[in-house]
């Protein structure tokens, strides 16, 4: 560790993406861009009703289109596993995974009912538009409010998702006796991921049972496991590649429809097949579920929290119990002795929801932090002061200690940057022209995970280092940070490092999610590099007349492609000399990262943030502008401040989307999402985004991961919508509890 620190050159330095030039020049290939000989094109036909059975499929007109090779339906689907469990992937929730074309049953609107395969994309699309289906429609419901009374505690818990903690103290009694209390209900509408890149798979048929699959996924090995399990193939014969991923936000954690279809058609037709979803079809592959939050809070005169109750109900599908940690945060954001939390699901006739950037926290913390703002208003205390008073120094849900929590620094630096002292104490009291001005803030929190991951490092005698792990880069900067870590570990220039990721044949990696990649894969890469150093040192010592013959490992440094004595840098050996002497063309070592179970018994790790927003709301028209947002994050060591900042910017923009724009508009009479396009499903446009300032406060955490890294993929969205909503309250005096806050809700 000390050697690493003394050598730091690249870690902590703002570094442009090593894959940036490839991306902006169009040379970085995405899944649906890979060429293949004799490629066939598949287009999916989607159901147009939310429940029932297919009674008739008219395929004749489609079959007659020149170039059509095959049309797959539930009546002639290719061979695939029968057993449910064979269809489960690494991140599947409990239940029955969706099996495309399994039967005539329709489980949700937009469900694939046929795949048209043709020798050109145009022919396939043309023919797909000619497929007609008739249905017997069953009763259905897509409205959470209607199903809410039947909400249930999911009997089987989703792996990796902690259920709400047991109640502590007596929250109801404390609430009843409290001087200040609020009780509110929040609703956050369903959202859709909408990454730029359409979901696509190019499945290259290499021979019977042998496939190379270019796939849009956040986990090449998860997709590989799914394909081998569903189609009964051997692992060594299935290679999944996802070098570049054009955004995903969680939608590409689970294997999606296009993967199944491309592989199924490829195996059946013994040809290479590409399947790409349309933008509209991407509205049916999982979404952030709608949630209701009943929140009751109480505090004493001094602003100390005395009771927290948060009961959430979230949507799921009929076939799976999708779960996320929605309410748990409410029990650990602040110190409080009386806490009661619950989380229940209600089944809707929709596709199964799926993880979307900070799943659970982005909605749970949003509602909770708005409710906290309501309580602050009731007590008459500054919301920032309230949060300082109620600071929690341990995780009160589990009683575990925190490996670090520089949240007070976030509060302080964020408040200074936004100019929190400008905040009008009285809502609707500050005006500039026709605009009401307000400031709001919220706390953000997300897990800092270290997952099991493996890596390989290979040093060649020409002084080049290759670091490999089956991680993905979904726009996050993984390519770049792994090179930075490798460069610093061996004291080499960044240009000497090649990262290899996005390939299922590389050392084991979890899916890219949960903000754990930098910590987990980064630590595995570092471990592999450390092993190379140990090997180099061993050979260096063994050389005749070696300057390091008498040295211990701690006495040397690795810098500039040389091993040198710390106290006499002039006495050194180049890596090439050492490898030549040992007759080695290359040194290859592996490394692993894994959480320490012993440490986990006492400690737990989270990333924290404080988000501050300034909003301006037209007093008559309800038009909201957000001239400034400050997100101050405590995320341990920042490997690459440039890509790290980008991650926070993206999270904040998505938080603005949650606050003001994003929602699925469903016609519950038809059970259909109606705004299934980027024209009508609104995400923030450039004009909606003004200044976003990102602050990384100093936070040293030697326990969270070997690199001291916490991860940044999700923290930027957590708390942002609440900060905006709280600022809107401060500006207008209107508390909108139904997200997104479109202008109609402010026209009073």
């Amino acid at each position: 560790m000390e050697a690493l620190q003394s050598n730091i050159a690249h870690i902590g330095k703002p570094t442009s993406r090593v894959d940036g030039k490839l991306k902006v020049t169009g040379r970085a290939r995405y899944a649906a861009e890979y060429p293949a000989a004799d490629l066939l094109h598949g287009v999916i036909v989607s159901a147009t009703v939310p429940a029932g059975r297919i009674t008739k499929l008219e395929l004749d007109r489609a079959r007659a289109v020149p170039g059509v090779v095959q049309i797959f339906t539930h009546e002639n689907r290719g061979k695939a596993a029968w057993l449910d469990r064979k269809w489960r992937d690494e991140v599947a929730p409990p239940g029955h995974p969706f099996r495309p074309l399994h039967s005539d049953r329709i489980l949700f609107d937009g469900q694939p009912i046929a795949l048209v395969v043709a020798d050109s994309f145009e022919a396939a699309r043309d023919a797909a538009s000619l497929v007609r289906a008739e249905y017997d429609i069953d009763d259905f419901c897509t409205e959470l409010e209607v199903r809410r009374p039947e909400a249930y505690d999911p009997p089987e818990k989703r792996s990796g998702i902690p259920p709400p903690p047991e109640p502590r103290g007596d929250a109801e009694d404390a609430f009843d006796r409290a001087k200040h209390r609020i009780s509110s209900e929040y609703r956050i509408n369903a959202e859709h991921h909408n990454p730029m890149e359409l979901f696509g798979t190019t499945c290259v048929f290499e021979g019977p049972g042998q496939l190379t699959i270019y796939e849009k996924t956040q986990g090449s090995q998860n997709s590989q496991g799914y394909v081998t399990s569903v189609f009964g193939l051997r692992s060594k014969n299935v290679r999944v590649i996802n070098h570049y991923v054009g955004g995903a936000f969680g939608a590409a954690l689970r294997p999606q429809q296009q993967l199944f279809f491309a592989v199924m058609a490829s195996l059946e037709l013994k040809r290479s097949v590409r399947v790409t979803l349309t933008r509209s079809q991407m509205f049916y592959i999982g979404y952030r579920p709608d949630t209701y939050h009943a929140i009751a809070l109480a505090a004493d005169n001094k602003g100390r929290l005395t009771s927290i109750m948060h009961d959430a109900v979230a949507a799921t599908s009929h076939h799976e119990d999708y779960q996320e940690a929605v309410v748990n945060w409410s029990g650990m954001m602040y110190h409080c002795d009386n806490v009661k939390l619950s989380y229940a699901l209600a089944k809707l006739n929709t596709a199964t929801p799926c993880d979307m950037r900070a799943p659970g926290a982005s909605v749970g913390v949003n509602a909770f932090e708005c409710a906290i703002d309501e309580l602050c208003h009731d007590v008459g205390i500054d919301p920032l002061e309230f949060r300082r008073i109620n600071f929690a120094s341990i995780d009160e849900n589990t009683g575990k200690m925190l490996t670090s929590k520089a949240l007070l620094e976030c509060y302080q630096q964020g408040a200074a940057a936004i100019g929190w002292d400008r905040r009008p104490v009285k809502p609707r009291s500050l005006k500039d022209g026709r605009e009401l001005v307000g400031l709001g803030m919220a706390t953000g929190m997300w897990d800092a995970f270290l997952m099991k991951a493996a890596a390989e490092a290979k040093l060649t005698a020409d002084g080049r280092l290759e670091v490999s792990t089956a991680a993905s880069d979904i726009g996050t900067g993984t390519w770049t940070i792994l090179a930075q870590i490798g460069a610093d570990a061996l004291g080499l220039p960044l240009e000497a490092i090649t990262s290899r990721i996005g390939d299922s044949t590389l050392p084991a990696s979890p899916v890219e999610g949960g903000s754990w990649t930098a910590a987990s894969n980064g630590s595995a890469v570092m471990a592999a590099c450390e092993a190379i150093k140990a090997t180099l040192f061993k050979h260096a010592r063994a050389m005749t007349n070696s300057p390091v013959a008498q040295a211990e490992y701690d006495d040397v440094v690795f810098a500039g492609g040389r091993i040198a004595l710390k106290n006499d840098l002039a006495r050194s050996l180049s890596f090439a000399e050492v490898m030549h002497a040992a007759d080695l063309a290359e040194i290859t070592e592996t490394g692993k990262a894994a959480p320490s179970l012993l440490q986990m018994r006492k400690y737990i790790s989270y990333t924290h943030s404080a988000v501050f927003a300034e909003v301006r709301v037209d007093e008559d028209l309800g038009v909201v502008r957000i001239p400034r947002i400050v997100c101050a994050a405590a995320a341990g060591r920042i490997i690459n401040p440039k890509t790290a900042r980008s991650q926070i910017l993206g999270g904040v923009v998505m938080g603005i989307g949650m606050a003001l724009h994003e929602e699925a508009m469903t016609d519950h009479r038809l059970g259909k999402i109606m705004n299934h396009s980027l024209a009508e499903y609104h995400v923030p446009a450039h004009a909606d985004i003004a200044d976003i300032e990102v602050i990384f406060v100093d936070e040293t955490d030697e326990k969270v991961s070997p690199l001291g890294v916490k991860g940044l993929g999700e923290i930027g969205i957590v708390g942002t919508a609440a900060a905006v909503a709280n600022a809107i309250f401060n500006a207008t005096g209107r508390r909108v509890r139904d997200f997104p806050i479109t202008l109609d809700k402010l026209l009073a």
Binding site: L621, A685, A687
Partner: protein, 338 residues
């Protein structure tokens, strides 16, 4: 997707003949709307007549001091044309309030007139829609209708016209020059688009074979007393919930000629000439304009999710007219509504 004939005539006469010969033939200019609709199977023309080679790209003075704008002038070129910026800033502003830079670079003047509604159901071929399939029913009534009409709707259709440019053209009393099988004719703007009644499949009064060749802008001068104010669900790149094109001639502190057209509220850009007439001779003030807004909206009716648009329209009309009165037109880059 449907099979279609594609032809690219060189003369207006050939284009008109090509359109007239095929029922349901569509003219293709910028393609920003038609091609989308064809991809979604909403438009299934048997013939597509690409008119991009026709000589319809000129912006020229008319004999009586107005301007004639060729149907193929792109929205961007029109918005930034020096004569438009100088003589018809209201039109330039409305164009720049719409779509995105890329779309405006491709979209044309004629095509903008013929944009189809953004009603969700019109675009989704799995749902009934009288505009797409006459007689199939209107799904928006009782459905997702946040963006729908509050004026002039019918039991058959509550869709709205999506254009910004057309709202300004309505306010400017533009005329549409049309070349058809019977020759050239001029349609006053107010008579170009129509209300849905029982035939919502017809957006306008064009006859089969008609080709829009130009827009004619009459001479007008409202000085700086105009504005285009568009209120939408995000600050850019969204269709209007309510928009207002306003122009006022103010003489000695008294309202003279006044034009107020509304977008996003009806099947066509909405004007109420009687209400405008009643405003003449009054002094401009918030109170006067509020009365006017109530007058214009007296028959407005929401259909559920869009009820808020009535109040929003009332306030937007007042604000727009105050902007026009002050001579401070809405800036389409600065998103502050002053």
């Amino acid at each position: 997707m449907n099979r279609f004939d594609y032809i690219r005539p060189d003369t207006i006469a050939d284009a008109v003949a090509a359109l007239a010969a095929f029922p349901g033939a569509k003219a293709l200019a910028g393609g920003t709307n038609l091609v989308d609709l064809m991809k979604y199977d909403v438009a299934t023309p048997a013939r597509v007549v690409d008119i991009n080679r026709l000589p319809l790209k000129a912006v020229e003075d008319t004999a009586d001091g107005g301007l004639r704008v060729g149907a193929l002038v792109t929205n961007s070129d029109l918005a930034w044309h020096p004569q438009i910026a100088k003589r018809y800033p209201l039109l330039a502003s409305a164009i720049l309030a719409g779509a995105s830079g890329q779309l405006r670079n491709a979209a044309t003047t004629g095509g903008n007139l013929l944009q189809r509604t953004r009603c969700y159901y019109f675009y989704d071929t799995s749902t009934p829609c009288n505009k797409r399939v006459p007689g199939s029913g209107c799904s928006a009534i009782g459905g997702v209708n946040r963006i729908h009409a509050i004026l002039g709707a019918s039991d058959s259709c509550i869709a709205v016209h999506p254009s910004d440019m057309c709202v300004a053209l309505a306010a400017l009393d533009a005329e549409v020059e049309v070349e058809g099988p019977q020759g050239r004719r001029i349609i006053p703007f107010a008579q170009f688009h129509r209300l849905p009644d029982h035939n919502p499949e017809l957006d306008n009064t064009l006859e089969p074979g008609d080709l829009v060749t130009a827009i004619i802008l009459p001479a007008t001068d409202f000085g700086r007393h105009h504005t285009y104010l568009k209120i939408r669900d995000r600050l850019s790149y969204a269709f209007a919930l309510v928009s207002v094109a306003a122009a006022i001639a103010i003489e000695d502190g008294i309202i003279g000629d006044i034009r107020v057209a509304l977008g996003g509220v009806a099947h066509k850009p909405w004007r109420d000439r009687n209400a405008e007439q009643r405003l003449r001779g009054e002094p401009p003030s918030e109170a006067t304009f509020l009365r006017f807004a109530e007058d214009v909206l007296r028959e407005s009716e929401g259909c559920g999710q869009n009820d808020f648009k009535i109040e929003l329209a009332r306030r937007t009309i007042v604000r727009a007219l105050m902007q026009a009165t002050r001579g401070t037109p809405q800036d389409q880059s600065d998103k502050v509504v002053r």
